[in-house]
């Protein structure tokens, strides 16, 4: 072959940017995040800052589901907010009915999962912008149901302390409980990251990508488009609903009016800004979209922080069209260049 030199170059540059040992990366990231639970007790960080981290991770879980759709399957949903709402309000309703936490979560996931399957069915018929808007319909319908059906309480359902395994009671109004809740969220985030990685690196991940990038070849290779659309949508709704359950567990309150299109768009923004198909990138996306404005911008800029959040989204997309996760590559390159320069100087 006369293209060998180029091939090597391709091999180097074309590598999936998850790094060599992604699972280790996830472990490391979540381990560091776990420390956030401790810092406030040492007086190094405010508890409310930990809460911001908690919501960032909750949104990460939701956005990971969106990445399965958007990044791997080339599908889109504008109804995500409806499903986060389903998780939160569903927990509210079931917990108020006195169901144990685990059962309530299971039921909520089951219901939302079947709704996701319904969308999957739909997606076989409807494509591109029509699909996007069909999901927007579903989001809108859910939103209207939440605000009009009396069992959702009109404005909100107050959940209060949650009971795990019937014994451990966690009430977010106590700081130490908040830390435990936060740690649990990080744990779930870690699990979700690992499971997602395994999923997309398997036959299913390949099938999802083939389905969206080369539908005909996929069919010829025996990939059943319906089955994988269902898989994609069910997974995404389960993640979104799971995020909603975490939200309800941490916030211990389930508002009915919060689940607007805007939330769904922000979730998509997390994926886009962070990086399609990248798990770490999705987390970075959530940090940029939710974390940074709440951690820094608001304190620094006050009321115009909202404008800057918008500017931030636009800038990151302009400079990192493939996702902010590629900042890692840039940093590494800079570092290498710096090292080289340093060596040269040393000589």
């Amino acid at each position: 072959m006369n293209t060998n030199t180029q091939n090597e170059a391709i091999q180097k540059s074309g590598k999936f940017s998850l790094g060599q040992k992604p699972i280790l990366q996830f472990a490391l990231l979540n381990f560091i995040l776990l420390f956030v639970a401790v810092l406030p007790h040492l007086g190094i960080m405010r508890f409310s800052t930990m809460s911001i981290f908690a919501y960032t991770s909750i949104y990460t879980v939701v956005a990971l589901g969106m990445n399965i759709l958007l990044g791997f399957s080339g599908l889109i949903s504008l109804g995500t907010a409806g499903f986060i709402g389903a998780g939160a309000l569903g927990m509210g309703v079931f917990l108020q009915m006195g169901l144990p936490y685990g059962l309530a979560a299971l039921l909520v996931l089951l219901i939302a999962g079947s709704l996701g399957a319904l969308i999957g069915l739909f997606s076989l018929k409807v494509e591109s912008i029509y699909l996007a808007i069909a999901t927007l319909f579903i989001g809108e319908i859910l939103r209207q149901v939440y605000t009009s059906v009396p069992i959702f309480g009109g404005e909100f359902i107050s959940i209060g302390a949650i009971k795990l395994f019937g014994v451990i009671e966690l009430n977010q109004i106590f700081q130490s409980h908040r830390s435990i809740l936060y740690a649990l969220i990080i744990l779930v985030q870690f699990l979700v990251m690992v499971l997602m990685y395994n999923l997309v690196k398997s036959r299913t991940g390949r099938a999802l990508m083939a389905m969206s990038r080369s539908e005909h070849a996929a069919q010829a290779m025996g990939i059943n488009i319906l089955k994988y659309r269902l898989t994609a949508f069910i997974t995404a709704t389960l993640y979104a609903t799971g995020g909603g359950i975490l939200y309800a567990s941490y916030f211990q309150n389930a508002p009915t009016r919060a689940w607007t299109l805007n939330i769904s768009l922000l979730i998509i923004a997390m994926v886009v800004v962070g990086g399609f198909k990248s798990i770490i990138g999705t987390f970075l996306g959530a940090v940029i979209i939710y974390g940074i404005p709440n951690l820094f911008l608001k304190d620094l800029l006050g009321d115009i922080s909202y404008v800057f959040s918008g500017v931030l989204i636009i800038l990151v997309i302009l400079f990192y069209p493939r996702g902010f996760v590629f900042v890692g590559e840039d940093l590494r390159r800079l570092l290498r260049r710096g090292l080289k320069a340093g060596k040269r100087e040393a000589k």
């Binding site: 405010r46 508890f47 409310s48 809460s51 911001i52 919501y55 209207q144 605000t147 009009s148 009109g154 404005e155 909100f156 107050s158 209060g160 977010q172 109004i173 700081q175 939200y247 916030f251 309150n253 508002p255 009016r257 919060a258 709440n294 608001k298 006050g302 009321d303 115009i304 922080s305 909202y306």
Partner: protein
């Protein structure tokens, strides 16, 4: 947490007292949150310039919660735990107030004035930490009752139409309306609308087809305006009464075309003109103070609300005077006698009574050279209107 024994509470030093709130000051609800906070700041700076209260100046901190309850809770916790404020002044918005109620009750920190009519604030006999809660604005249920009482007493209505959005405000008002209508034995024709609808013509037609004597527009701001426009388009002629929230000049401007077909009234818990139609002293003071920030704020009802929130809080401070500034003492001071509301009547917190202001007037909208609300019925205690 909270109160140090005998000594001062958190947020209190010899020369300062720190208070704050979390409010929506960005995004769509900035239109409410920004002037509201400016009203608060205007009052505090007036007090501070006059040397503060009992030797302490008032410091003020606020966070933007984007009208999101989760952020509202996070920032409220920051205010309590990290910034260690003495009290919330002007706790803002249904989502945040709803999400923080349990937490703040547990902490027992004083909250003076809620910028919402959230029904859950209504409490005839508050105890424990809930006693630190001091709602000032009317609560929707109570105002709903007033609406019906007015319709019957002042307009002799037998059959009353109601347009209400499917939200806490609409539902609260409706609950009050139904309660009072039941006891007065009048008929109600209620039509529900979506709070964000741009077109309420079908609701308007439903009401009109029933031939009602008075229409109650049980809604806030934009939906109320949309509803009144829809009523005009549908050919309504019956008088309309709407919520106190709408008793602002800009609202009249919005519905001015409708005034050709029927009269529009609004409840008001504030009285900014005296019986001769001249601006009250309280109003002049308010206008001159906020005018320093932005002259446009003078007619802004949200700025007025913020102003009131700060004023009510300061009255409590003044009552504590030189006694140790603790939560206990503050709560006792607030309960000890009715607190007067600048631009309005007064509010009585005695014996754990937490029901908001108890006096309302009736205003009538007109538009000649500009938008005006004129006093149709003076400020009366709710109990008297209801009789």
């Amino acid at each position: 947490n909270g109160t140090g024994e005998g000594g001062a509470a958190q947020g209190v030093t010899d020369s300062t007292v720190l208070v704050g709130n979390a409010a929506a000051t960005s995004g769509a609800l900035a239109a409410v949150g920004v002037p509201f906070n400016q009203g608060i700041e205007a009052y505090f700076s007036m007090v501070n310039q006059a040397g503060g209260v009992a030797g302490r100046t008032i410091e003020w901190v606020h966070y933007d919660d984007e009208f999101d309850g989760a952020q509202g809770l996070t920032y409220s916790q920051r205010l309590v735990e990290d910034d260690q404020i003495f009290a919330f002044v002007g706790h803002f918005g249904t989502p945040t107030v709803a999400a923080t109620q349990e937490y703040l009750d547990t902490v027992g920190i004083p909250r003076v004035y809620y910028a919402t009519g959230l029904r859950a604030l209504f409490d005839l006999k508050a105890e424990g930490g809930a006693r630190a809660s001091f709602p000032v604005q009317p609560i929707y249920d109570a105002e709903g009752e007033v609406m019906v009482a007015r319709a019957v007493a002042d307009f002799g209505a037998q059959k009353i139409g109601v347009i209400y959005p499917n939200a806490d405000d609409g539902k609260g008002l409706l609950a009050g309306i139904e309660l009072r209508a039941g006891s007065l034995g009048v008929d109600i024709v209620a039509s529900q609308v979506a709070p964000d609808a741009n077109d309420m013509s079908s609701a308007a037609q439903t009401i009109l087809s029933e031939d009602v004597d008075v229409v109650l527009v049980a809604a806030n701001q934009v939906p109320a305006e949309v509803a009144i426009k829809a009523l005009a388009a549908a050919g309504n002629q019956a008088p309309v009464i709407t919520s106190y929230v709408n008793a602002a000049p800009t609202f009249v401007e919005g519905v001015q075309e409708a005034l050709n077909s029927f009269d529009v009234y609004a409840n008001a818990w504030l009285q900014v003109v005296d019986n001769d139609g001249n601006p009250t002293e309280a109003l002049q003071e308010f206008e001159s103070q906020v005018g320093e920030i932005d002259p446009a704020l003078a007619g802004n009802p949200y700025a007025q609300a913020g102003w009131i929130a700060a004023a009510v809080f300061v009255q409590g401070l003044e009552r504590v005077g030189n006694a140790p500034l603790t939560w206990e003492n503050y709560i006792a001071a607030m309960e000890e006698a009715p607190v007067s509301i600048p631009l309005g009547g007064s509010v009585n917190f005695a014996d754990g009574r937490r029901v908001g202001t108890q006096a309302m007037s009736l205003l009538k909208a007109s538009y000649d050279d500009g938008p005006v609300w004129t006093v149709d019925q003076p400020l009366e205690p709710i109990t008297e209107i209801l009789d």
